[in-house]
């Protein structure tokens, strides 16, 4: 987090919005119009069901993203929009990886899984599906290790973020 922010740095942007149709489209449009890609996106209802929480990961010029955050904040259905790149927020992500494994490979795969605290959520004679959770960097490292086996499918949820202590996300 203390590294210099570059155009390649992934920003984690939290948006608190009214739980209404069209809100996601409005926000996505603010990104798309400026040529920014949304790397990952998580939307879920908040404690108060009238609102939703979005966590958006995106990268690009800092100036461009600052503009995007200001424009998103302006939308009538947006309560607030915060870039959590500089604060020490809790960031978590989950991934499911389906591996094609022979019985000989299985032990080694399980060792890697144990190291990263993965859970095996499905096991068949030819395949094993594991779940890994944690910071995105950890997921990257785990998936890199699992690549020595054949990964048939991989699904990542995208980051979710929450501010620490009493701070508002």
């Amino acid at each position: 987090m203390n590294n210099a922010i570059t155009d390649k740095t992934v920003h984690t942007i939290s948006v608190y919005v009214a739980n209404k149709p069209g809100v996601l489209a409005r926000i996505a449009q603010v990104f798309a119009r400026r040529g920014f890609n949304i790397d990952s996106l998580v939307v879920s209802p908040s404690v108060d069901g009238r609102y939703s929480r979005m966590t958006i990961a995106s990268q690009g010029s800092v100036q461009g993203l600052e503009q995007i955050i200001l424009q998103v904040s302006k939308l009538v259905d947006v309560m607030h929009c915060v870039d959590h790149i500089l604060d020490e927020s809790i960031v978590r992500e989950m991934a499911l990886a389906k591996l094609r494994l022979t019985s000989e490979q299985r032990t080694e795969a399980l060792q890697i899984c144990e190291h990263f605290g993965c859970k095996t959520v499905d096991l068949t004679p030819t395949a094993m599906t594991v779940m890994v959770t944690g910071h995105s960097d950890k997921l990257d490292a785990c998936i890199d290790m699992l690549r020595q086996f054949e990964i048939i499918e991989l699904v990542r949820t995208g980051k979710v973020v929450m501010a620490r202590g009493d701070k508002v996300t």
């Binding site: 069209g22 449009q29 100036q63 503009q67 200001l70 302006k74 939308l75 009538v76 259905d77 607030h80």
Partner: protein, 575 residues
């Protein structure tokens, strides 16, 4: 509560009446039938236009002239898509407007029903907010919110898409519900005093200040505060195209409009100033030229109600979020007169050396017509322009003295805007003379509204600056593309005077000689039974100066026609 059973559309019309709506500019269609029916017997007058784009520009002109939101009603599909240009025009220039679009019945949504278009989706990037009605009961809340949103904070258009089954359906619910807008906080509140003090401090050190007044100053009604401040500081004021009227252009401290076709003295002031303070301007690319070179050595101050404008075009030293009027009133309490005498003397020198001028010899010139019109109306008329060369000359020669008397499509640069906007302004300000300045290109885009003006006996006076060219593009081709003309020749124009006469109550005049300008304008002024069109056959190939080629710094201003052998680089800026 509802005393008798009414339809959704009747509730809708009741809501509009409650909002004080006088006029709806619209065009009928199947999906709007229940609303059209509910308007029978209403106090609201439905102004039937000839094309939906015209309806939006009329609503826009009405809003800019009165400060009240303009209202548009159209049907679904093509009716709705025809409004997009007008909505975008209003959005770019922060104009309050409520656009009601009929929609197919809710159960047919997304099935490519007849005349169905995803208007909610299509208009999303060009509205301040939009609604797709999902029950009859929510109509009153949505309309209340829409009228609140459109004209609060930084104004902008709001669209409401109304499926026909909800407008036709039986209404049950509350006609006066609470708004539900937890994320919308348009009141900028009191400006941050610490920032105001920093600005006052920066001003106190300035010897060469310039105030840049934009549309935000007009929307906030800050003209008195601005004038008091400028006079107290003894600081010159330049106003943007949309800021015309925020500060009287006949005032000794006025520099007129800056930017691409602004006055030489306003641009020179921006080049040489040691402080520039924007009051409700967004530092548009037409004004700043090359962003990195704009007022490089000056302290830059940005006052705006919309913080999303801060740092968008240029980085400033001080940002003050707030309503322009409130900020200026606070600022007034903390500033005194500055020592600007040498600065004002320098600028007066520039005004004498580089006045706005044109050659009176040769053929009929737009500049001379506008100069004469300015003398004859002396700031008491509403001037509405279209987009192009005539617009820039009108901005230069028609001095704007009062707020809301200059209507022009700035951000969008929408050709076809002027004439319908003038009709809308006439509905809003029936006692004020309305002059529309249009080019022969732009007028032909929306001239079908002659019927609307004629039937409603709107005494709008249109000067069609007829040079048989799309003149501004022709100017660029002449200057930067070796005069290789492409797609600019308007040979085949109709006789615009005869055209006007073809409508009941329409009157046409032809103006060919400079000596007749005053006579023809007087005739038009005296005719108030309907629209009149002056077909002004002007010189074909005049160029607008001063000019800063797009993307060049303000220092790159061409004050007058370059020498014939001077080769100009193609501009690098947007357009």
């Amino acid at each position: 509560m509802s005393e008798k059973k009414m339809t959704g559309a009747e509730a809708l019309v009741r809501c509009l009446e409650n909002e004080g709506v006088e006029y709806i500019f619209g065009l009928s269609g199947g999906a709007a039938l229940p609303i059209l029916d509910a308007l029978v017997g209403s106090t609201i007058k439905l102004v039937l236009v000839r094309h939906e784009q015209g309806a939006t520009h009329m609503a826009d002109g009405y809003a800019r002239a009165t400060g009240r939101p303009g209202v548009v009603l159209v049907t679904s599909g093509p009716g709705a898509t025809n409004t997009i240009t007008g909505i975008m025009t209003a959005h770019m220039d922060s104009v309050p407007m409520v656009v009601i679009t009929g929609q197919t019945i809710s159960t047919m949504l997304g099935k490519d029903a007849f005349q169905e278009a995803d208007v909610f989706g299509l208009t999303m990037p060009v509205v301040k907010h939009s609604y797709l009605i999902k029950s009859t009961a929510e109509i009153p809340r949505v309309f209340r919110e829409a009228f609140f949103i459109t004209n609060s904070g930084r104004p902008g258009p709001v669209l409401i898409d109304v499926p026909k089954d909800y407008s036709a359906g039986e209404f049950s619910g509350d006609l006066y519900p609470e708004m539900e807008l937890p994320g919308y906080h348009p009141d900028a509140g009191e400006p941050d005093l610490a920032v105001v003090m920093q600005i006052a401090e920066a001003l106190s050190k300035s010897r060469r200040p310039v105030i840049l007044a934009g549309h935000g100053a007009l929307i906030a009604g800050a003209e008195t505060a601005l004038r008091t401040l400028a006079e107290k500081l003894q600081a010159p004021v330049t106003n943007t195209l949309l800021g015309k009227g925020a500060f009287p252009e006949s005032h000794p401290l006025s520099l007129g409009m800056p930017g691409m076709h602004g006055t030489a003295y306003a641009n020179k002031a921006l080049v040489e100033c040691d402080l520039v303070m924007s009051v409700g301007s967004r530092f548009d690319d037409r004004i700043i030229g090359k962003a990195s070179r704009f007022c490089r050595d000056a302290v830059k101050i940005h006052i705006d109600i919309d913080p999303a404008e801060f740092g968008r075009m240029i980085a400033c030293d001080h940002y003050c979020k707030g309503d322009a009027k409130r900020v200026l009133e606070r600022l007034l309490e903390h500033v005194g007169e500055l020592n600007t005498k040498p600065w004002l003397a320098t600028l007066d020198g520039y005004k004498r050396r580089y006045p706005l001028t044109y050659k009176k010899r040769g053929g009929l010139k737009m500049q001379q017509i506008l100069d004469t019109l300015n003398t004859m109306t002396s700031g008491d008329a509403i001037i509405v322009t279209d987009v192009g060369q005539h617009q820039m000359w009108a901005a230069q020669f028609c001095k704007t003295e009062k707020p809301n008397t200059w209507l022009s499509s700035g951000g969008a640069g929408t050709m076809g805007y002027g004439f319908p906007a003038g009709i809308g302004a006439a509905f809003g300000k029936p006692k004020t003379p309305i002059w529309v300045i249009a080019g022969d290109g732009g007028f032909q885009m929306t001239m079908c509204e002659l019927a609307t003006a004629a039937i409603n006996k709107i005494p709008v006076k249109v000067i069609v600056m007829n040079n048989r060219y799309l003149g501004m593009v022709r100017q660029w081709q002449t200057m930067f593309y070796d005069d290789r003309k492409s797609g600019v020749d308007l040979e085949g124009n109709p006789d615009f005077a005869k055209l006007a006469e073809a409508f009941p109550g329409g009157r046409g005049f032809t103006l060919k000689r400079a000596g007749d300008i005053r006579k023809v304008l007087e005739k038009a002024m005296a005719y108030n039974d309907g629209p009149c069109v002056i077909n002004a056959i002007v010189e074909k190939a005049e160029n607008v100066f001063p000019m800063i080629p797009a993307g060049a710094p303000l220092e790159g201003m061409l004050i007058s026609e370059p020498k014939p052998d001077q080769k100009l680089e193609k501009p690098t800026g947007s357009t």
